[in-house]
């Protein structure tokens, strides 16, 4: 577990370093995620896709992602510092969230169903 947490942090740090060095527009952890994905793909060429993810990494990932919701809580509590703003801009925020979510789900679902028709 601990070596794998270190591994994830190394990928994140490498992502941060790359972002600063190349002035990339993507957050460091996202670059780290893409780097880990590419590493797994390359590893999969040797081991086969089923064995590409080492068991300890799978366990550490399950532990972290199994309670992914918990990690959002501290930032979410920050809502208390924005209550006045949320109340002031309740109409534009509600319109933007509801309107764009429903439109996106409709567009994604209908397009994918049309284009992805099984032969």
């Amino acid at each position: 577990m601990l070596p794998m947490l270190a591994l994830l942090l190394v990928f994140q740090l490498a992502g941060e370093a790359l972002r600063h060095a190349l002035a990339l527009p993507v957050p460091g952890p996202v670059i780290g995620m893409v780097a880990l994905l590419l590493t797994l793909v390359v590893r999969g060429w040797w081991t086969g896709p089923a064995a590409a993810v080492p068991e300890p990494l799978a366990r550490a990932t399950n532990a972290l992602l199994g309670h992914l919701s918990l990690l959002f809580v501290p930032a979410g509590v920050g809502v208390m510092t924005h209550l006045a703003l949320l109340a002031d801009e309740a109409v534009p925020i509600a319109a933007a969230l509801i309107g764009s979510s429903l439109a996106a789900i409709a567009v994604g679902g209908v397009l994918m169903a049309r284009l992805g028709r099984r032969p």
Partner: protein, 234 residues
């Protein structure tokens, strides 16, 4: 013997307080969520946040002091984002089979979700920083907060908007897709994962494994695509 009030003053100042309170609130909210059969409205993030904000408000503890302890949980969002590579890798095989449809439908969903939010926000008179906070609301929180910070939004406001978006998508998405006669599990999964990130993906897994796999994939790809696209557009 020390006065109870003195002990309270001492404890409330300790970073351990925010950390412990966060864990307890989350565990209680998670238990409630499971007891209610994973109902989208019982979302554990939503209710843990409501409970914690209530406690802080009632006790007058400022958010900054709470965060001194809670940051030890917050900091794990970074490695958790990196860890998303593992489910993404496992879904790659599924993607290969519907790659061409995904290549069109996914960017379309991402564009409608982010540009739609920006347009509606501007149309109804939201401030610049609110529009920037709204733009990445469809992708998973760690990515959305990073984008928000980069384009001049408020990351903590974005976190709240992301969670609200997930709940909206999880509750309203499935009936909307049924009304549009979208029955293909791959299409339902893609729409829910791309427009409502992890909460939509959790909901998609309740409909079936193929729906869930496409949702995880869509969530990951939408996150990367939005992270590349929005800072360039800004």
């Amino acid at each position: 013997m020390e006065d109870l009030a003195d002990i309270w003053v001492y404890l409330a100042r300790d970073p351990l307080f925010g950390l412990t309170l966060t864990l307890i609130a989350y565990l209680a909210a998670d238990r409630l969520y499971r007891a209610l059969g994973l109902h989208p409205l019982a979302n554990p993030v939503l209710w843990a946040v409501v409970a914690l904000a209530g406690v802080l408000w009632a006790t007058g503890i400022p958010y900054d002091r709470y965060f001194e302890g809670a940051q030890f949980i917050h900091v794990l969002l970074g490695p958790a984002t990196v860890a998303l590579a593992v489910p993404l890798y496992r879904a790659l095989e599924t993607l290969r089979r519907s790659a061409r449809a995904v290549a069109v439908a996914l960017p379309a969903t991402v564009l409608v979700a982010s540009l739609g939010a920006i347009a509606l926000g501007l149309l109804f008179g939201a401030s610049d920083s609110t529009v920037a906070s709204l733009a990445p609301k469809a992708v998973t929180t760690p990515i959305a907060m990073g984008i928000s910070e980069r384009i001049g939004g408020l990351p903590s406001l974005t976190a709240v908007l992301v969670i609200l978006t997930g709940i909206l998508g999880g509750v309203l998405g499935p009936p909307l897709l049924s009304a549009l006669r979208v029955r293909d599990p791959r299409a339902r999964g893609l729409a829910l994962g791309a427009a409502a990130h992890g909460i939509g993906t959790a909901r998609a897994f309740h409909e079936g494994a193929e729906t869930g796999a496409h949702a995880s994939l869509a969530m990951g790809l939408a996150g990367v695509l939005t992270a590349v696209l929005l800072p360039l557009l800004w």
